[in-house]
Symmetry: C2
Subunit: 296 residues, 2 copies
């Protein structure tokens, strides 16, 4: 029986150590570095970097080779949360159980901290060792992939649509499209980066993309369900906020029971996409199940 808790915990430790090492290497601690550490080391689930490493492992590759990409993905995720929390956007005061960056520091620092983490992501992605320079074309493809996912055709477009649609009635198709942009594309990029860096073939990468599309959506449906049923103490953030904001969610469009069925079906699709992978893809299978059973 595969022990997912142990796997997640050991990978989280490795990722945290790698992130800390990147932040340590850069001179004296000052306000901006302090704010970067505050948000980056705030106890995130590390879902994206773990998926990146698990994809690298799924065909027997060396996960360590993908660590730079894993760290970059977490930096981009964290930057997007810092900016989304700003007063001009979602105006959130609590994140992962702690005051959001602009509350703990100030608004200008929070904007610049997000900018700094986004920029550091690309610095990390371009800092391969010179003796690995034959891998340079692959790293360029990874940078291409991640910047596209994070950019105005992906993550940023998703946030624009989210802001514009607050309070309005989205259809199920519109909701799916928005979530694909807001979370799906970066999750897809996480798996593809890991796969590219450990040399998976294009057929295997397509299967992982299919897996990613399904768990990305499942992740969002599960988040919406947690916003209704979750325990604020366990989640480290308030529950019931979607309803207060009249946000379109899967439960509001499909009902709570249908949403749970939908999330389960998506996880089934994700598992099916991995059918031709052997037991090295066990972590990816376990993560798919975890996404709809997690409590935070």
């Amino acid at each position: 029986m595969f022990d997912l808790d142990a796997y997640l915990s050991s990978h989280r430790q490795r990722i945290n150590a790698a992130l800390e090492a990147i932040l340590e290497t850069s001179g004296p601690t000052d306000r901006i570095l302090e704010a970067m550490k505050y948000s980056l080391m705030a106890g995130g689930k590390r879902i994206r970097p773990i998926l990146c490493l698990a994809a690298a492992e799924s065909a027997g590759g060396d996960a360590q080779n993908a660590m730079g990409a894993a760290c970059a993905l977490e930096m981009i995720h964290t930057y997007s949360l810092i900016h989304d929390d700003l007063p001009a956007m979602d105006n959130d005061v609590l994140r992962r159980g702690k005051p959001t960056c602009h509350i703990a520091f100030d608004e200008a620092t929070a904007i610049l901290t997000g900018d700094a983490l986004l920029t550091l992501a690309f610095q990390t992605l371009s800092s391969i060792e010179f003796d690995n320079s034959h891998q340079a074309p692959i790293w360029l493809r990874v940078i291409q992939l991640i910047s596209h996912a994070a950019g105005y055709c992906g993550l940023i477009q998703g946030q624009m649509v989210d802001i514009a649609s607050e309070g309005s009635r989205l259809t199920l198709t519109e909701l799916k499209s928005m979530h694909r942009l807001k979370t799906g594309v970066l999750i897809e990029a996480s798996l593809c980066s890991g796969a590219l860096l450990s040399g998976l073939n294009s057929n295997q990468i397509k299967m992982l993309e299919n897996y990613a599309r399904n768990i990305g959506l499942a992740f969002q449906v599960a988040d919406d369900i947690l916003n209704i049923e979750g325990d604020p103490k366990v989640m480290g953030k308030a529950a019931g906020t979607d309803k207060l904001r009249k946000k379109a969610t899967y439960p509001s469009l499909l009902g709570l029971q249908e949403s749970k069925k939908f999330a389960k079906q998506l996880v089934q699709n994700a598992l099916q996409a991995l059918e031709s992978f052997d037991k090295k893809a066990e972590p990816l299978r376990a993560i798919a199940n975890y996404i709809i059973t997690r409590k935070k």
Copy 2:
């Protein structure tokens, strides 16, 4: 006699065409793309991309090879202006004679537009043609260089120091250090990128770095002088704002006449750094002189 006006104008046209082509390739126009175009095509001087192309030409290289880097540098410069203008930062309402991005659109859109341009810069830097993949290690070095200059050890640190020091008395050393971060490092990265991409040797790159350090500082001293003596109609932005904000400037520390002498000396140093270059470096020489004679 070298015709700088014609050179700047033809290079500006090429850069603008390249920037427009990048923005055109991405589906339907929506609010975020509209805001990106609004700020990116607002008639900037294109100093950084022109320096990048001129560096590429200075040893006989093909400037077109460096066009991706040139465009990325302008995107990063524009993103930093959009974020610096935000209410939480400098709270500026006018930029290049037009309402700033958050005035023309709204604050959330301006934050996301800056994010999108920063991200698009790295997408552009990583999108080399497949048949150029032997150049991949050089492009990775360029990404490394530019992300370092734009990051929390460069541009972003400079803005942090700028905000923190508003109203306080900086020494000349502190002022120089802040300006090196705020404008110097990105100008250095502009010249180095162009040089790397057209295959200059490390000795030549060092000379261009020296040139860059001097004109970067001269550029800032000249900006401070323009803020006192410039014509708001020509500049497209208000004059006298530094004094109103009690900002530390070269004229406030050195006096106006000493500041002009200092700027001239820096330009002399820059020209000296180019001594071993032949007439292909004529544009760089002319730009050095232009920096302290420009009216906007």
